[in-house]
Amino acid sequence: MKLWPGLGVAALLSALSIGTLVMVALKAQGGATLGAADWAAIRFTLTQAILSAVLSVLLAIPVARALARRQFRGRRSLIALLGAPFLLPVIVAVLGLLSIYGRNGLFSAALQLVGLGPISIYGLKGVVLAHVFFNMPLATRLFLQGWQAIPEQHFRLAAQLGMRTGDINRRLETPMLKEVAPGALAVIFLLSVTSFAVALTLGGGPRATTIELAIYQAFRFDFDLAKAALLAVAQFTIGALAAYGAWKLAAPTRFGVSSGGLREPERWDCQARSVLLRDAGVLLAAMLFLFLPLMAIFASGLAGLTALPLSALGGAILRSVLVAFGAAGLTLCFALALGFAIVRLERSHAQTAGLIEGLGALFIAASPMMIGTGLFIFLFPLVDPVALALPITALVNATMSLPFALRAILPALRQSEQGFGHLADSLGMQGWGRFRLLTWPTIRRPALFSTGLAAALSMGDLGVIALFADPQSATLPLMLYRLTGSYQIDAANGAALILVLLSFTLFWIFEREANRET
């Protein structure tokens, strides 16, 4: 286990996040201060991000609990489908949500039947609704992993001791929730902080200005690079505080090594009819909330398939898949390099290890506009940035998924090293052999899961390619964006459907591989 690959990745991350900011600041002339409008943007950003995080987590707990203690047909598929909202491109998701909750949406139509006016989702409630739609499934998955990390024997022991649901809740589930919740809150908070198009569109106007929009304004309306850099520093500071808070609050549970198997614990305590009904209700409500907009996207996409320009589609799909696999491969390499470095440093330099871990999380709060522009300023004197559009997109997409990958892989990596590291050392196991025989079997599941997530996220993300675009080499999200900009709404719906299906298929293939018994 060498240290330098991890430190190299950490340096790369710092360069991409803080370095790009410095590039922009250096290019700026004169200083900048934050005006009243900027402070309003900071306040709104905090309000919506806190609400989005808290609501997503509160709603995710019952859903995850129901999924954790119930066995039913299609449960696996349901869990996999939970990944879908998280993977949607922004404009597609907004139009999907409006099909259900908009003025002309399903709910308003139903209300009209009974003589009530249309509902209005515009405002803070719309912003939070959209963020919960994106992130509640993510929180559900994080909690579900928490439940699965409680060793099955504990539940068996609890049953033998005659513990009821309440006791199990207090002794096993609450400690787990306390450990997982701060991280989940922080991740969703960070994801919501950089929101811009969703916040503006559903927020109903300039009241819903986020910091990212203010950064965008500084770049393109004012061309005030100093202001853009200052706002990005504000966004970073918020992100850093959130990441630090989560790290401080997360109380580690001491359940010991989980069997990590796929066998779900038998829950003798949850047989009562009322509990069963409650779980069924929770799952049904969650499915309606999440899948109705997805079905609307599916329906309008099917209708638009025939309008798609087939000549450009093949190339766009190929480029998107290449970028997705590139990003996924990079994410895995980066996460492993960082993970090994963290595990090794934890023994001697706990603070450095924590810092590197935080750096990964902090990246979620980096402004995509800032990264793209900073990279452009850096690369332009050296090479033609447009020629590097796809590799750069893959690289930036990889770093965006890295926090999730690191989160998933790190515990397994720790487990493998703490459990068997000394033994392997004494046996002289090193290098590839040690990785293949010792590490990989333990981290296989989270590693494949996060590789799939990275591929799917990269697939759906417009990312920096919008700044480095080359008309000849559009990815699928860029093609979608161009279609919507040229009156081609039907074709854009069709492209959105293909995009969602492709990105979900990638996710599902990896997930299935991850769940395969070895």
């Binding site: 290019k27 409008a37 309003a40 404009i91 139009l95 409006l98 099909s99 908009g102 003025r103 002309n104 515009y122 811009f196 198009a197 503006l200 569109t201 559903l202 927020g203 109903g204 106007g205 300039p206 009241r207 929009l213 965008y216 393109r220 309306f221 004012d222 061309f223 000549s311 450009a312 480029r319 290449l322 590139g326 491969g329 990079l330 390499c333 522009t373 300023i377 332009f380 004197p381 033609d384 447009v386 796809l390 590799p391 893959a394 919008a466 675009a469 080359d470 008309p471 000849q472 080499s473 964006y481 161009r482 279609l483 919507t484 900009g485 040229s486 009156y487 081609q488 709404i489 854009a492």
Partner: protein, 333 residues
């Protein structure tokens, strides 16, 4: 690292697809996305110009006019661009101040209301901003900002954000030009009707087509798109008694253009009948110079010059920061 370089090599191969005739000069034209996309004028313009210029025409794209200017500013004097195509007159004062643009020879006499006179930029097309609606759904159509403010609260419009979108900025200047110091009052009257503000034109127009809003800020030429391309005559624009703000799209040549002669030739070509007759049904704007063949069937003649509102570039630049603040304050209440 091996994996990474393999990926890079693979990507380089796919990117290198188009390079062939390396001996011809390459004219580098920076433009906005939808101009160069396969639904825009780009492909036809490229084909026609390459047939006569003995060169290769390369489009490099940015999101829209403002992104284009930001890109040119970031690249500065080292830019390899020959021509920048797709700024509008709310950006040209700022573009001129960069000192990156060369003076151009006068172009052809334009058909723009108010004519054209600018040492650095030549127009290639133009349009009027307008609120577009569905004739079957909206029965009482407002014909002024005052009408719109007085309409029942249930009449909803969706507009674009001036900070992130060209039409959004157009609306800001429209209200300011028409009402001057009364602009905040007009915005306050419009506020209850504004369903939401979007980042760009496409989200706003998409929401309108979904039936979320009764009207959307777009162009007087939008109904022609539906009529000609989709055989759908259901859309119309509301003619406003205050007049309509104009968007004039222009092009300029960089002072440090690697191919100045070709660049000048391209600017002239963009104003030729050949290109001007392509513009209406690809960029869905009015040609700067009416071609001999006139406008295509289904493409209504532009509103007369007495309806045209526009700021001079220097005025637009001077007024926009204060106008934005008024807009933000009125809509944040």
């Amino acid at each position: 690292m091996l994996k990474m370089s393999l990926i890079a090599a693979g990507l380089a191969l796919t990117l290198a697809g188009g390079a062939g005739a390396a001996d011809k000069p390459v004219l580098n034209v920076y433009t906005y996305d939808s101009f160069a996309s396969e639904w825009g004028p780009g492909p036809a313009v490229k084909k026609a110009f390459e047939a006569v210029c003995g060169c290769n025409l390369k489009f490099t794209t940015a999101g829209d006019g403002a992104a284009l200017l930001a890109r040119v500013e970031l690249e500065g004097a080292r830019s390899s661009a020959d021509v920048v195509l797709g700024l509008d007159t709310s950006l040209t004062a700022k573009a001129a101040a960069t000192g990156l643009f060369a003076t151009v020879k006068d172009g052809r006499k334009t058909d723009l209301p108010g004519g054209w006179n600018d040492p650095l930029f030549l127009p290639f097309d133009w349009g009027y901003f307008a609120f577009v609606y569905d004739k079957a759904k909206l029965k009482t159509v407002p014909h002024s900002f005052a009408d719109l403010a007085a309409a029942p609260k249930s009449l909803k419009i969706v507009i674009e954000d001036p900070r992130s979108s060209t039409p959004g900025l157009g609306l800001l200047l429209w209200v300011k030009k028409a009402y001057g110091t009364r602009a905040p009052e007009i915005w306050a009257g419009l506020a209850p009707h504004i369903l939401t503000v979007t980042k760009g034109w496409s989200a706003a127009y998409g929401m309108f087509l979904k039936g979320e809003a009764d009207m959307v800020l777009s162009y007087t030429t939008s109904p022609a798109y539906h009529r000609i391309a989709e055989n759908d005559d259901s859309k119309a624009f509301a003619r406003f008694s205050e007049g309509h703000y104009m968007q004039i799209e222009v092009m300029g040549q960089l002072a440090k253009a690697p191919h100045p002669a070709l660049a000048a030739r391209f600017l002239a070509f963009m104003q030729s009948d050949k290109v001007q007759s392509i513009i209406p049904t690809t960029n869905w704007m009015y040609p700067a110079i009416l071609p001999k063949s006139g406008l295509p069937d289904g493409f209504d003649a532009a509103l007369p010059a007495k309806d045209a509102l526009i700021y001079r570039p220097d005025e637009a630049q001077a007024v926009r920061a204060a106008a934005l603040e008024e807009w933000r304050t009125a809509l944040s209440k």
